[in-house]
């Protein structure tokens, strides 16, 4: 079911904060690999939507879930309370439920970095920096 709140940033998994150069690079790749002309036309439209007028880009960004989660590869700000094994009954999550999620694949890609624990510090996270 296609969502009626379709957003180009979310559809092509783009982070609004990355800027138009990155948006263009990513969509260019997608367009070149597109299966057919219709798909390419959709990508082209998204590119125009996101790069033509800054106000349109900002509008689309406002309507896309912002990345506010702690960046991957860092320690959590405070050690998280782990769910106890007996507290996870049948309705809870098992790892195999999660195995196929795209975000896992994403995350694994991100973990390809040579030193897992040494990647970006919190200071580099723009959203956290922006907080008072």
């Amino acid at each position: 079911m296609r969502s009626t709140v379709d957003n180009p940033f979310e559809r092509y998994d783009l982070d609004p904060r990355e800027g138009i150069a990155a948006i263009t690079r990513r969509l260019k790749e997608l367009a070149e690999e597109a299966r057919d002309e219709a798909e390419r036309a959709r990508i082209r439209e998204a590119w125009e939507e996101l790069t033509l007028h800054p106000a349109r880009r900002l509008r689309a960004a406002l309507f896309a879930h912002p990345e506010t989660r702690a960046p991957l590869g860092t320690a959590p700000p405070a050690l998280r309370r782990r769910a106890s094994p007996e507290g996870a009954p049948g309705g809870g999550l098992e790892l195999r439920d999660l195995a196929a999620r795209p975000s896992v694949l994403d995350a694994i890609g991100a973990l390809d970095a040579p030193d897992d624990d040494a990647v970006p510090s919190l200071e580099d996270d723009p959203v956290l920096r922006g907080r008072p």
Binding site: P54, T68, G92, A107, G130
Partner: protein, 419 residues
């Protein structure tokens, strides 16, 4: 492989994604929609933000254990004042997604979701630091150019208007098929004040949004009615207004429902029925006139009540009164006729036709009363007839029935029988 501190972040992300989807599914199901579309993984940020507010961690833990209700309640009852901007932003989008998922199957629930989303936008609009930073990050080079007077960004006070426009676009899109999504949108656009109240938004912000919502709402309704107008125009030039007009105008009933009984639809019907009504009236097609007006009685009642409740609504009083005059004229039952004519004169005391018709009916009633006086006329009855005729005369002194009735009264007073 050992478990590292950084793996906690990864696991938490995965948990957050699953929790937000479960929450979303629960909300959508509760609203009555069959299935929820997927959310972007970044929507998990909502759960991350909820963990950080009081009672948040517990509710998330419960959701992880399979019970999303505490979390759903937390989201519903959340006070926007003092909520962190990230949370507001996620919430605004979460409710927007819920509304979109519900709009086709459960318009009322969708409207409520729109209102909550709008409330979150109102609250977010006050978070100037967050929005300024957000804009800077998204616009990059363009933001730097803003210094030169270009209007690249969206000023914070316009942020709620973006959602109003988004909702209104749905109303517009449904104007031709009167779809449920449009109904939900129109309902939501009429509830701006409620959203502003929930958010504790300043009056200036509420007023701006209200004006925009009203304008967009009016435009959507205008579009829905336009097609009927075109059809009537065409029937008019083809000389088929009397035969086709009713069928065309009937669509307004559906529009009225779609707009949840909007007054503009009532105005439209009164205006158009007037023209068709007079054609039928001139042709003395009483049955057709009754047939024309019948489906719209609830609209006339509604409009009349609005006028009675609120004297400032008198603009449409004359038009509405004419509808009651028509109804009175085609009714065969005297007490109902009287009631209808009285209503016409009540909402528009100076209405010429209303006064003429009411005067005639009063005379009619007086004569009926007199005809019922078999041998002796009782004093109270006579007084009543006198009162009726006095009122008829005050309404329209030159009513043709008045002379006849007065004549009859004179005869009755002289002790003769009425007829």
């Amino acid at each position: 492989m050992t478990w590292r501190a950084s793996d906690d972040i990864l696991l938490q992300r995965l948990e957050d994604e699953s929790v937000v989807e479960a929450l979303f599914a629960a909300v959508v199901r509760a609203g009555g929609a069959p299935a929820a579309p997927g959310l972007h993984p970044r929507a998990g940020g909502l759960v991350d933000a909820l963990r950080k507010i009081p009672r948040g961690a517990e509710a998330v833990a419960a959701a992880l254990a399979g019970d999303v209700m505490p979390l759903a309640r937390l989201v519903d009852e959340l006070a926007f004042a003092g909520a962190p901007p990230e949370l507001l932003h996620h919430l605004a989008l979460f409710h927007r997604a819920s509304a979109a998922a519900l709009e086709e199957t459960a318009p009322e629930a969708a409207a409520s979701a729109w209102v909550r989303s709008l409330a979150a936008w109102f609250a977010l609009a006050e978070e100037r630091t967050y929005l300024a930073r957000f804009e800077e990050l998204v616009l990059g080079r363009d933001a730097a150019r803003r210094g030169r007077g270009a209007d690249a960004g969206i000023p914070p006070e316009r942020v709620p208007l973006e959602l109003v426009a988004d909702v209104a676009a749905r109303a517009d899109a449904a104007a031709s098929d009167l779809g449920q999504a449009g109904r939900a949108a129109l309902l939501a656009l009429a509830r701006i004040d409620e959203a502003a109240r929930i958010a504790g938004a300043p009056e200036s912000a509420a007023a701006r949004a209200r004006a925009e919502a009203e304008r967009r709402r009016n435009a959507a309704i205008e579009a829905a009615l336009a097609l009927i107008g075109e059809g009537l125009e065409e029937a008019n030039v083809r000389g088929e207004l009397t035969s086709q007009g009713r069928a065309l105008l009937l669509r307004a009933v559906a529009v009225w429902t779609w707009t949840s009984n909007d007054e503009a639809v009532e105005h439209f019907v009164v205006d158009r029925a007037d023209k068709i009504g007079w054609e039928l009236y001139r042709a003395r097609s009483w049955d057709a006139l009754r047939h024309l007006l019948d489906p719209f009685r609830p609209m006339f009642d509604s409009l009349a009540s609005r006028i009675e409740r609120d004297p400032s609504r008198i603009a449409y009083a004359a038009g509405c009164a004419q509808m009651f005059v028509f109804l009175a004229e085609v009714d065969r039952h005297l007490p109902r006729k009287l009631e209808l004519a009285e209503r016409a004169v009540k909402i528009c005391p100076t209405h010429r036709n209303g006064r003429i018709v009411l005067a005639a009916i009063l005379c009619e009633q007086a004569m009926e009363t007199m005809r019922a006086m078999v041998v002796f006329a009782r004093r109270d009855r006579i007084e009543r007839v006198e009162a009726l005729l006095e009122r008829a005369e005050s309404l329209y002194a030159s009513a043709s029935e008045l002379d006849e009735a007065k004549d009859m009264l004179r005869r009755v007073k002289r002790g003769r029988i009425a007829v």
